[in-house]
């Protein structure tokens, strides 16, 4: 195969970014488990598949770890090959040492006679690829799996599961069926209008065209409602120094008890915390790096920190501008050109009417199209926080209710199918619909894209693009 080769592979299947209690090491594709007897204190000869054993790991007669061993015998494993899973102590050094132990088999063989073929580190997605190749899962299941494994929102998780169940794929197959019907009714028009009658053939064509186009339009809508926010939603607070961002940041954190992680922001550009609202994980970001500089964007635009700060704001799911009504600000106009979600006034318990001028000014700057999107919030901190959280929740639910398709490959293809269909639509809608043969020829392009969507394409194309997202060990 183009991506992968056969033979035994090994990888750490759990996150190896930091020390953890347990790490899982997975090996697949070896002929005989006894090849590895030398590394284990238990008798591998007597091991029963799918049972859990405690064993010492041995390197040169020295115990290096105490691990839990599970053996899956071909074909009853994830990859359909022989698989060993080791749950080892999750210290990164320890994990690396155990990997090295198995990877050293070739060297050991040279010293003390052959003990089986060399094991190599698995490439990203290679375990799943083997599962695919050995018919354990289907192509679309692979894509669903990708989503499930990388989801950080319930929506993405659910879509992944739905793909694993083949539901999205059914939708594409319907598109394919409707496409075939459209093609067929065009052929009917060209080749058989004498047999079925000119008007009947035309009526069939119009119907088939309508059905196809309404289906691709619906699918296309599902690619438009998409926001990166559905995969990993960020809530960003930004504004002038002393606007009250940090107070707001900490208030939101205090209110939201289900803090997922306590890893502080890793760069000097911003501080972030993970929070959970209604089962959805968000990253709450305080754009600290902008604090001193936001007023003066023009003069220091080349500053990398600013650029990155702006990038974070631009990509954020919810953009909250924090304003202290009592201080003068000079925001660059481009701040207002980004789809702001909320402008929050802090440092007062007053009614917004006292700041009518400022509100008017911001509205002007943000342009007509944004007016309806921005809410101005003020008042006591308690209700304010609730409003912010409700706004976020509603925005998320609204997006999710459009049932957007998250997989980039699908979104891209559906968009291209839609654009190609629009070309066909132009031909259809023009008065001069004489060139049925040209419509048919344009439809071939649409058909090729649909074939790609449902998986009838060259292996290198589709598999490469699917597996590039996979992590090692999956």
């Amino acid at each position: 195969m183009f991506l992968y080769q056969d033979g035994p592979i090994i990888a750490v299947s759990t996150s190896s970014a930091s020390n953890a209690a347990i790490a899982v090491i997975r090996m697949s594709g070896f002929d005989n488990i006894e090849n590895y007897q030398k590394f284990f204190s238990i008798d591998l000869n007597k091991i029963i598949p799918r049972r859990v054993y405690l064993s010492d790991l041995i390197e040169n007669n020295r115990i290096i770890d105490s691990v839990v061993v599970t053996f899956y015998k071909t074909p009853n494993s994830y990859t359909a090959e022989n698989v060993i899973e080791l749950s080892v102590h999750g210290n990164r050094l320890n994990v690396q040492r155990i990997l090295d132990l198995f990877l050293s088999i070739q060297t050991l063989s040279l010293k003390s006679g052959p003990i089986g073929p060399a094991i190599r580190l698995a490439n990203p997605g290679e375990f799943t690829y083997r599962a695919l190749k050995n018919k354990k899962i289907s192509l679309s299941e692979v894509e669903g799996l990708d989503l499930v494994l990388n989801a950080s929102s319930t929506y993405a998780l659910e879509q992944g599961m739905s793909i694993l169940r083949g539901e999205l794929h059914k939708n594409y197959e319907i598109l394919h069926q409707l496409y075939l019907k459209l093609r067929m009714s065009i052929e009917l028009n060209i080749d058989f209008s004498e047999d079925v009658g000119e008007e009947e053939a035309k009526a069939l064509l119009v119907l088939a065209y309508k059905n196809f186009f309404s289906h691709i339009e619906t699918l296309h809508l599902r690619t438009r409602g998409y926001d990166q926010g559905l995969l990993s939603p960020d809530i960003v607070l930004f504004g002038a120094v002393n606007a009250g961002k940090s107070t707001l940041f900490n208030s939101i954190l205090r209110m939201n008890r289900s803090i997922v992680s306590d890893i502080p922001g890793t760069t000097r550009d911003y501080v972030s915390e993970n929070i959970s609202i209604d089962g959805v994980n968000y990253r709450l970001i305080d754009t600290a790096g902008l604090r001193d500089k936001i007023e003066n964007i023009d003069s220091i635009i080349e500053n990398e920190g600013i650029r990155r700060g702006l990038e974070i704001i631009r990509n954020a799911f919810v953009k909250i501008l924090v304003v202290n009504p009592f201080i003068e600000e000079k925001f660059a106009d481009e701040i207002f050109k980004m789809d702001l979600d909320l402008i929050v006034f802090t440092h007062n318990d007053l009614d917004l009417s006292g700041h009518a001028e400022k509100v008017k000014d911001y509205l002007n700057k943000s342009g007509d199209k944004l007016k309806s999107n921005i809410s101005f919030k003020s008042g006591p901190i308690g209700p304010l926080l609730k409003e912010i959280l409700d706004y976020t929740k509603d925005k998320y639910n609204l997006l999710a209710s459009e049932n957007p398709i998250l997989i980039e490959r699908h979104r891209d293809l559906i968009n291209r199918i839609y654009i190609a269909s629009l070309e066909v639509k132009k031909l259809f809608d023009s008065d001069n619909n004489s060139e049925v043969a040209i419509i048919a020829s344009e439809l071939v392009a649409v058909g090729n894209l649909i074939s790609e969507l449902i998986g009838v394409v060259t292996p290198s194309d589709v598999l490469n693009s699917i597996f590039k997202n996979f992590c090692i060990g999956k």
Binding site: M1, I190, A437, I438, A440, S441, N448, G455, V456, T458
Partner: protein, 630 residues
């Protein structure tokens, strides 16, 4: 010329053709051009190139095919023009790419013309006798054909079988069953009995409507369809618009609820539905009882009433009413139709069942893979239509002749000819219904047009190395084509006042950009490209361009861009098409549905393209094959 004709007593021929239908005539006519000794043996009571079904030649895709045959030096175009009594351009409103010529023919005249053509060729011997035995000598690779009446023996290394529906033919008139090839004609025995060898056969059926007595039809209440004098003749050496016979009209009427009620009520009297016929009929040419029962909501089907000849007593063919119901019911339902209230039936409609051979056992030359020197062409290969038969006849004839003269075989490419499309489809695919050619079978429809048949066929005909009037025509055509094509690309109209006025006067629209080439002008969709090119050649170059060349040049300009885009689209598929597939593994794969596995097992596709073209293969199977997930 062969020098080793040793034994004249045995009547040794270079090529023997059994059957003188459309396939047999083409095979004989093309082979004779190689200056070989050709023998055609045909049933004595059957007319040469007879048209037992509809009285027409051409049609969508078939018209293109007839023009390919004609450019190759075949007979069908000549015969059709000579016998044509009505011309039509089908799909006239759907763009040049899918326009096709169809002519109604005088059947008797067509047969006479065909017989005269064969008789006019000195090196063709026409034998009217029934073949009773065919033997093959494995050592000499000789075939001996023995006929019945005269008991003579004919000998050849090349044998082309074009027996149509005559193999084991069986006719059904309602519940009545008669052995025969068609009405009033005996059937041929099956191939096994003839001793040809072991070739797998299947059983197909086809049907034909009743023939009506003209004096009992009221044409005044039907829609008249006149002959079109703008439709070009088929034969390139004919003047495009000259007519060789009197032109007459066809008529259109429709079935109604009363008609369909009678047919539905008598469903069980039709051998198709009562189990008397188990063979599979053509989906593409359904009988009226098929239509009645397949589309229970539709009562109005249009019917073309087509004359079968110029003779005052000629019969009329009600196109669209193919049936095998008993005669009394045929008369009942016919008389419910407007204009047919008092109609008399001259010959009842019937269905015929016959043996066809499994064409996956043939090469692309139509020679048997396992039996060298034995070719099959025409309806015996499970095709329907005179044009498909003729197309195979010419392919078999050419290849038999090339083989006799020890030359490389000629394989037609599906990307530039309908001949190639048809032969590919036939030999790659085991069908379960009669094969009819239509444009959708081609991946390259915008190129496979009528107007450019010469451009597409030129290289094939030149490869034959023959020197006949048609060859001179083709060379002249190609020379003119190159000249005019290049001139149209180069000649341009700048945006001068004179030109703006000129464009206005001629209804050419606006000059786009600084200047506009003649090619760009021809692409304007509101203009008739052929007429525009003809008049520009006269106005600007003061030369007249022939009708044939004008059409080829101007229509090509219109489609070139689309064809290029289409080719790019096809490119990806073509690359994929050439990928090898392991059919054996695929046929065992759990990822492939049961039916697909069965089809794969029987066809044994070697490449993805062959797999893709198997009828009924599912997208899911293709996905599995493309991803090599088997």
């Amino acid at each position: 010329m062969r020098k080793n004709i040793k034994n004249l007593d045995f009547n040794f021929y270079d090529v023997i053709i059994v059957g003188a239908g459309h396939a047999g005539v083409e095979a004989a006519y093309i082979a004779s051009q190689f200056v070989l000794k050709v023998c055609v043996i045909t049933m004595p009571e059957v007319a040469i190139a007879s048209a037992p079904c509809n009285p027409a030649v051409g049609g969508v895709a078939k018209g293109q095919l007839v023009r390919e045959i004609d450019a190759l030096g075949g007979a069908m175009g000549i015969l059709a023009d000579n016998a044509a009594i009505q011309y039509r351009t089908l799909n006239a409103s759907k763009g040049y790419a899918v326009q096709s010529t169809r002519v109604q023919i005088d059947k008797d005249l067509y047969a006479t013309e065909a017989e005269n053509l064969l008789l006019s060729v000195k090196n063709i011997t026409l034998v009217k006798d029934e073949v009773v035995k065919i033997e093959r000598n494995n050592e000499s690779l000789n075939y001996t054909v023995i006929t019945k009446e005269r008991g003579e023996i004919y000998c050849s290394n090349k044998l082309i079988i074009t027996t149509g529906t005559f193999l084991n033919g069986c006719l059904h008139f309602g519940e009545k069953k008669i052995l025969g090839g068609r009405v009033g004609v005996r059937a041929s025995d099956d191939l096994m009995k003839l001793g040809v060898g072991k070739i797998p056969t299947m059983r197909f059926k086809t049907g034909t409507p009743a023939r009506l007595v003209g004096s009992t039809i009221d044409f005044s209440v039907m829609e008249e369809q006149e002959s079109d004098n703008k439709t070009k003749n088929f034969h390139l050496l004919h003047h495009p618009f000259e007519r060789y016979s009197k032109q007459i009209s066809c008529y259109i009427t429709r079935t109604n609820s009363e008609t369909m009620k009678i047919i539905r009520e008598n469903k069980l009297k039709s051998p198709i539905f009562n189990g008397q016929i188990n063979s599979i009929g053509p989906r593409y040419c359904p009988s009226i009882e098929d239509k009645a029962n397949r589309y229970p909501d539709r009562d109005s089907h249009h019917i073309f009433i087509e004359p079968e000849g110029l003779n005052v007593n000629t019969h009329y063919y009600p196109n669209g009413l193919s049936t095998s119901l008993p005669l009394d019911i045929q008369i009942d339902f016919l008389r419910t139709i407007r204009g047919l209230e008092r109609v008399e039936v001259a010959i009842p409609g019937y269905a015929v069942e016959y043996d066809v051979i499994d064409t996956t056992k043939l090469n692309k030359t139509l020679e048997c893979k396992d039996i060298s020197g034995l070719y099959f062409a025409g309806q015996v290969n499970g095709t329907s239509g005179y044009e498909e038969a003729a197309g195979q006849g010419i392919v078999a004839g050419i290849n038999a002749a090339l083989s006799v003269t020890a030359q490389l075989p000629m394989i037609f490419d599906r990307y530039d000819t309908y001949l190639g499309v048809m032969i590919d489809d036939l030999v790659e695919n085991k069908r379960d219904e009669p094969y009819r050619l239509f444009t959708a079978r081609s991946e390259n429809r915008l190129l496979l047009r009528e107007d450019n048949s010469v451009n597409r066929i030129f290289k094939y005909r030149m490869q034959l190395g023959l020197n006949r009037p048609i060859d001179n025509f083709l060379k002249d055509f190609m020379r003119d084509y190159e000249i005019f094509s290049s001139v149209t690309d180069k000649y341009s109209y700048n945006k001068s006042g004179v030109n703006i006025h000129y464009f206005e006067k001629n209804g050419y629209g606006h000059i786009t950009g600084e200047a506009m080439t003649l090619s760009e002008l021809l692409r304007q969709s509101q203009l008739d490209p052929v007429e525009t090119l003809k008049s520009e050649c006269l106005n600007k170059f003061e030369v007249s361009i022939s009708e044939w060349v004008a059409a080829a040049v101007s229509i090509s300009k219109r489609y070139d861009g689309y064809i290029k885009v289409a080719e790019m689209q096809n490119e990806k598929m073509k690359n994929l098409d050439s990928m090898r597939v392991n059919w054996d593994l695929l046929a065992q794969s759990r990822n492939v549905s049961y039916e697909c596995r069965q089809r794969i097992k029987s066809i044994r596709p070697q490449t993805f393209g062959e797999l893709r073209r198997i009828e009924g293969i599912r997208a899911a199977t293709l996905a599995v094959a493309a991803g090599r997930l088997y």
